[in-house]
């Protein structure tokens, strides 16, 4: 999962910046000339830490007067630690921010508005993917962070399984019907024991980003109204998108019910599914699994081709003692140099347009599909109360729609829409 932001910012006055700088300088002097140290906190696995650490090392070489320490946690520990750190007034100077959660943090006034720094340095944000930058912008023009990388959802496929079944590879002309037709040919009981051992399609149903928000959009629906005050999931189009996912499992039977792989993990990665709708973060895992991997855009629905985009941002703690150094570091994270290092991991798309169109698009087979997806992608919904909204929504969808077909998507949404709107109204 990943993050992006929107924020309401107050321009920091130059005097404040100067004063902060002076205090930092005096503190440094008092401590016997220690160089400013900033802590950069991220969530991720060891390979992501390694990649970010390599970027930090280059930064430190270029800025010998700034020390950067990287700390890493798993996803859930990360947010626990961050919140306690923020509550105690001792949060990391720079930290990773998931797009959808940004408004909840920004609204609570713990993030530094980078707009004054951007203006002062004449930093050109238009060289970054616009949608991703927008995720960390507030209505009043504040910029409370910059995107560090970007995730996009695609259709992965196992070429060997397609060849064996004599089915043509997915391409950018595919629609939902093509997906179902191919999925049926690829769903097989190979040893005749009446249990399926090769599924047509696999995805995760517990978060909208993995697949279902894209289905809602592809069907012409949306998750939230443009003003963010109500949910639009109760439209026929949105319900149709959710219903399609339930149908893939229980009617078309080309997808395993979620509980089947809840413990063993990704069926596609294990060679038990021919296709998977999921995010860019899986590329290194799938390549390591030795799958003959193909990458195609998500099949189009009635309203055309849409996918989900979600940037991870780098934000600065408002009470950071070294905001100048923190800003310098954030700026470096978005630089072509750092972005080219990041893209080697293949786990996310770079957010620098020149890197995206140039070295990234040809960096591995299928990278072009990711690069192209930005043109037709929608931002993952990002709003205050996101976690409560999605927990309430997923509890209903998981229990009654995806984990077991107790209700149709329409019935489930009707049951929960009042509560969802109440959550949005509370924010």
């Amino acid at each position: 999962m990943n993050g992006a932001t929107r924020s309401a910012g107050r321009p920091m006055r130059l005097a404040t910046i100067l004063a902060a700088g002076a205090i930092a300088a005096m503190t440094a002097a008092a401590c016997g000339g220690q160089k400013p140290a900033i802590e950069y906190s991220i969530w991720g696995d060891p390979s992501e830490l390694q990649s970010q650490q390599a970027i930090v090392d280059v930064f430190k070489k270029a800025n010998p007067d700034i020390d950067v320490k990287v700390t890493v946690s798993d996803w859930s520990t990360y947010w626990d630690k961050l919140q306690t750190g923020l509550a105690g007034g001792a949060a990391p100077d720079v930290f990773a921010m998931d797009g959808p959660l940004f408004p909840d943090y920004q609204a609570r006034d713990v993030l530094l508005d980078l707009k004054p720094y951007i203006d002062k340095d004449g930093y050109d944000v238009s060289k970054l993917v616009d949608l991703a930058v927008k995720d960390f912008t507030t209505a009043d023009g504040g910029q409370y962070g910059l995107p560090r990388d970007l995730n996009s959802v695609v259709l992965y496929y196992n070429k060997a399984m397609f060849d064996e079944a004599g089915v043509a590879y997915p391409d950018d002309t595919w629609t939902w019907e093509d997906l179902v037709a191919a999925g049926k040919k690829l769903t097989k009981d190979k040893d005749g024991d009446k249990t399926i051992d090769q599924w047509g399609l696999y995805t995760e149903t517990t978060d909208m980003e993995n697949y279902w928000s894209s289905l809602v959009w592809q069907n012409g629906g949306d998750v939230l109204a443009p003003d963010g005050k109500t949910t639009l999931l109760d439209s026929a189009e949105a319900k149709g998108g959710l219903q399609f996912l339930q149908d893939l499992i229980y009617r078309e039977k080309i997808m395993p019910e979620p509980a089947l792989f809840a413990e063993t993990g990704d069926a596609f990665e294990q060679g038990q599914a021919a296709m998977e709708a999921n995010g860019s973060w899986l590329v290194p895992t799938l390549l390591n699994a030795g799958i003959d991997l193909g990458i195609a855009p998500l099949p189009a629905g009635a309203a055309g081709k849409v996918t989900s985009l979600n940037p991870t941002g780098a934000v600065v703690y408002k009470k950071s003692k070294n905001p100048e150094a923190a800003w310098k570091f954030v700026k470096f994270l978005t630089s072509p140099e750092a972005q080219q290092m990041l893209m080697q991991l293949k786990a996310a798309l770079p957010i620098d347009k020149s890197v995206l169109a140039g070295p990234y698009a040809s960096s591995f087979d299928g990278a072009q599909v990711f690069a192209d997806s930005i043109a037709y992608g929608h931002l993952k919904p990002s709003f205050k109360g996101y976690d409560k909204f999605t927990t309430t929504l997923q509890a209903e969808l998981d229990t009654n729609v995806f984990n077991a077909p107790n209700k149709t998507a329409a019935e489930a949404i009707d049951a929960v829409v009042g509560e969802l709107n109440a959550i949005l109204a509370q924010q």
Partner: protein, 296 residues
């Protein structure tokens, strides 16, 4: 016995306080303060990051109308009611079976204790495999023609499935406590019972069980407090999603609101409800001990 100033007893009391001091100081500083603070916080709307706002009893009122909280409460109570008797009955049976001198008894006893020194997370992972739709449990019941069940996601089976796993893990500690209790029963009492013509059942009913009541009491209280705090198991079993209303427990509800939904005040209110429930039940349990617990 009358207390003599400066006598050996007073010295013992001083030593007792000295040995207790680390625990008491630790509790006072690290637990009592935060516990009282949460009482204050429970009357506020507080997101951890901005200033709290006093809201009176709003949090408590809202909790009573919150169906996710009610599910958490129901699941937790059901978990407690099912797990404690099952744990104690099974532990008693095991302790009675293991309380004999046979070859390799130490190994057998150890094996029952092993799950206890394994992390709850690791155990939950293994059980998640057992409970999976294509897991061992469904294969076994498949042999006798029972259709596969959704052990974790079906609201009917979810809590019993977690109870069974938890009892399997925790039964070792109760067994060890019962074994210690059994071995403290004086042999003369059994001899006397034999003389009175007591059979096996009578020996159990009139000698063993009464003398085991302190152990039963002790494991009961530990079980009660532990059961109300069940967390790890649901956290792991619910992956990759969050617990649904079939599996959410009170402590998960508190965690979720405090650390996910920016509602520390609400979470504190829920934790006070939990505290009061556990407190009242413990008090009742202690009151009742006079009726059935025999100390030698």
């Amino acid at each position: 016995m009358a207390r003599r100033r400066g006598g050996p007893l007073a010295a013992e009391v001083r030593w007792a306080w000295l040995f207790l001091a680390p625990t008491i100081i630790g509790l006072a500083l690290l637990s009592a303060g935060p516990i009282l603070a949460t009482l204050g916080i429970s009357f506020t709307r507080w997101d951890l990051l901005t200033a709290p706002e006093f809201v009176g009893f709003d949090n408590f009122r809202e909790l009573l109308g919150d169906h996710r909280f009610m599910s958490a409460l129901r699941n937790t109570v059901l978990f407690t009611v099912l797990s404690i008797p099952l744990d104690m009955a099974l532990a008693l049976f095991l302790a009675l079976s293991l309380n004999r001198a046979i070859r390799g008894i130490a190994w057998i006893r150890t094996s029952y204790f092993l799950p206890l020194v394994t992390s709850a997370t690791a155990i939950s992972l293994v059980w998640a495999w057992i409970y999976a739709p294509n897991g061992i449990l469904n294969s076994i019941i498949g042999f006798v023609g029972v259709p596969p069940q959704r052990w974790i996601t079906d609201p009917f089976w979810a809590v019993p499935a977690i109870v069974f796993m938890t009892v399997w893990q925790g039964v070792g500690i109760s067994t060890i406590i019962f074994l210690a209790g059994l071995q403290a029963v004086p042999e003369e009492l059994y001899d006397a019972a034999d003389v009175d013509g007591a059979g096996r059942w009578a020996r159990l009913r009139y000698v063993t069980l009464p003398l085991l009541t302190p152990s039963l009491f002790f494991t009961g209280i530990l079980g009660l407090i532990g059961a109300f705090q069940v967390f790890d198991q649901v956290y792991v079993l619910a992956r990759p999603g969050n617990p649904t209303e079939a599996t959410i427990t009170l402590v998960y509800f508190i965690y979720e609101n405090g650390f996910r939904f920016f509602r520390m005040g609400y979470a504190s209110a829920a934790s006070w409800i939990l505290f009061v429930i556990v407190g009242v039940l413990t008090l009742i349990y202690f009151r009742l001990q006079r009726r059935w617990v025999h100390y030698q």
